[in-house]
Subunit: 355 residues, 2 copies
């Protein structure tokens, strides 16, 4: 297969590595940044470099457009203008409604792999980036079935799990599970900074605040585009949040104890369902361990669990205000592992509670 990658950063570079290794593809790369292209070539993410879009896609069978969301439409159009008639063109942008609405071509399929959000840059590209990752595809009514099938098959061979979804639903889901958490983190960071700012006596933030603001102010070079590209779905989602917050405030003002408890218990069920989604071996169990905050203490616990074959699915260390002690919250899968984990940790003489 002949593949063209327009943009060879983390995603495009990883597509190149995977396509060469798993599809036995010949990969031609183009990137407006010459140094990125150099690095992609050096890392083996492309077989050949192209000086422009047209040269890259000339004889391609599949084109991956990995341009910033703000320049996506322009890049997709350029690819379609120059690509052969039987070539599938897809993108990897994180919002889908706008690009699908703008581009009508039977060769185009919008796409969005849920991978790689944590870093950027071709130097972090890897051949297994998409292993078992959901890769959303947004075929339009006019999309060629043959080309869609070719793309689907290629993605599967790259290791991904392609999933077709309506572009509007995709954007609403992403607005809720990804963009809204960033908005709330930003808003909360500003509020907390404001109340603490006037008050030297106020201590460092607590664990719930730390978790809640962890993603605040994510890289603007990426996120301004994401926010704006998905603004329609995001604004609707924010409206829902405002309505929900008003309802909470009313319940609190009315002092309706049962209603507060009911609301909170429902949130617990929602949380457990969300955190447990996609599991095979039963729901996650939560453990909390109180530890001195010194080098090696996490190693000691994690090592003991690792030796015993207990896999820590997720963990978070919340330090005390002075960072001398901390609480490790850990999630492991299923009752049996949780029981074993608690026993092992207690044997190490740490205080452990199952939540």
């Amino acid at each position: 297969m002949r593949v063209a990658n327009l943009g060879v950063g983390l995603i495009g570079g990883s597509v190149g590595l995977a396509a060469r290794a798993r599809l036995d593809a010949h990969v031609r790369g183009y990137d407006p940044d010459g140094r990125t292209l150099d690095e992609a070539e050096r890392l083996g993410a492309i077989d050949a470099r192209a000086d422009d879009v047209a040269a890259a896609v000339r004889d391609a069978e599949a084109v991956f457009v990995a341009a910033p969301v703000g320049r996506l439409e322009e890049a997709v159009r350029a690819a379609l203008d120059a690509a052969p008639r039987d070539c599938v063109v897809t993108d990897v942008g994180s919002t889908k409604r706008a690009i699908v609405a703008a581009v009508h071509d039977e060769r185009f399929v919008g796409g969005h792999p849920l991978a790689g959000a944590e870093t950027a840059g071709v130097e972090h590209a890897r051949e297994n980036l998409f292993e078992d990752a959901t890769w959303y595809l947004t075929p339009a009514p006019g999309t060629s079935g043959i080309l869609y099938e070719r793309l689907h098959r290629a993605l599967t061979r790259l290791g991904a799990q392609p999933v077709a979804i309506e572009p509007e639903l995709h954007d609403r889901v992403m607005a809720t599970v990804s963009h809204l958490p960033h908005v709330l983190a930003n808003v909360l960071a500003a509020q907390a900074s404001n109340v603490i700012g006037s008050e030297e006596r106020v201590p460092a933030s607590g664990p719930s605040l730390r978790d809640a603001i962890r993603v605040a102010g994510a890289n603007s070079a990426i996120w301004t585009d994401i926010y704006l590209s998905n603004r329609e779905a995001l604004v609707a989602t924010i409206d829902d949040t405002v309505a929900a917050l008003r309802a909470v405030a009313e319940t609190l003002t009315a002092g309706e104890r049962d209603a507060v408890t009911g609301w909170n218990d429902a949130a617990r069920r929602d949380r457990d369902r969300l955190l447990g989604a996609g599991m095979g071996d039963g729901p996650l169990s939560e453990l909390r361990v109180s530890v001195p905050n010194r080098p090696g203490v996490i190693a000691e616990i994690a090592l003991a669990l690792g030796r015993a074959g207990v896999n820590i699915v997720d963990m978070a260390l919340s330090p005390s205000p002075d960072y001398r002690r901390g609480v490790i919250t850990m999630w492991v899968r299923g009752e049996e592992q949780a029981g074993r984990a608690a026993g092992l940790i207690a044997e190490l003489d740490f205080d452990v509670a199952r939540i």
Copy 2:
């Protein structure tokens, strides 16, 4: 010193252990739950048990009231009714305006130690629970200076850092840095569950959502009281959040790119300031490590850092949708430790990025 503890769970039990060890105090305990009292006695958290409040406080010099927020006023009044005239009475409730407004007695000082929120139950009590923890005190104009000073000195000897604060400000700060994050987590969990609920194709939640809903639906037995007790400050704080969210939605709708970037960059500064608060050795540095999600991998990394004396201040593991891979986000203190940590992790052949 003669101490009486009304309520001998995690906080009361820890006060007992610390007071016996560090103040050489004689501690008398009362708890409406006889089994809790048994356990406190067995663990050495009290010297003697009392059958009722009056018997517990009869000859006390300091009384710690560790009752649930919903029964706090009643318990404080009972203590004051029976305590000697030169005895200081304090509480450990997590909101302060209501109790301070309700109780006018020169012997009473409202209090709130920022410790122990992670677990409950006397079996987790420990003598060093308050080591270096902020312990808020809300003295009223009518509070006896002598008794306040006695309490302050005792808390310092328990290891805590007592800090005087106005009850209204205390509640506003707690509403913002502790209660609001829980409200937002609850609201977000409900919204995400709703959008995902209708959609089997939607994958497991992403890392930003996981962090954001981690505290959703916290124990209603504790949190319904906290929400209701602090509802005045909390509703005002929610109103601020609603106003901030509307402003964000307007900026997004207007498509003001610079305004979106400015808002996001400001949130970054707020976040860094909040996460870095209270540090001595420079700001926190963030590292992201891509790892296979198998037992022992965290051990391997943490052990290497531990051996090298690099202290992980905070960490979070975000699994990929299928839980086979994950990204460890770690914070260490200062540039030097961050550089060393990145080098050590790279030597282990993991992909590491400094953010």
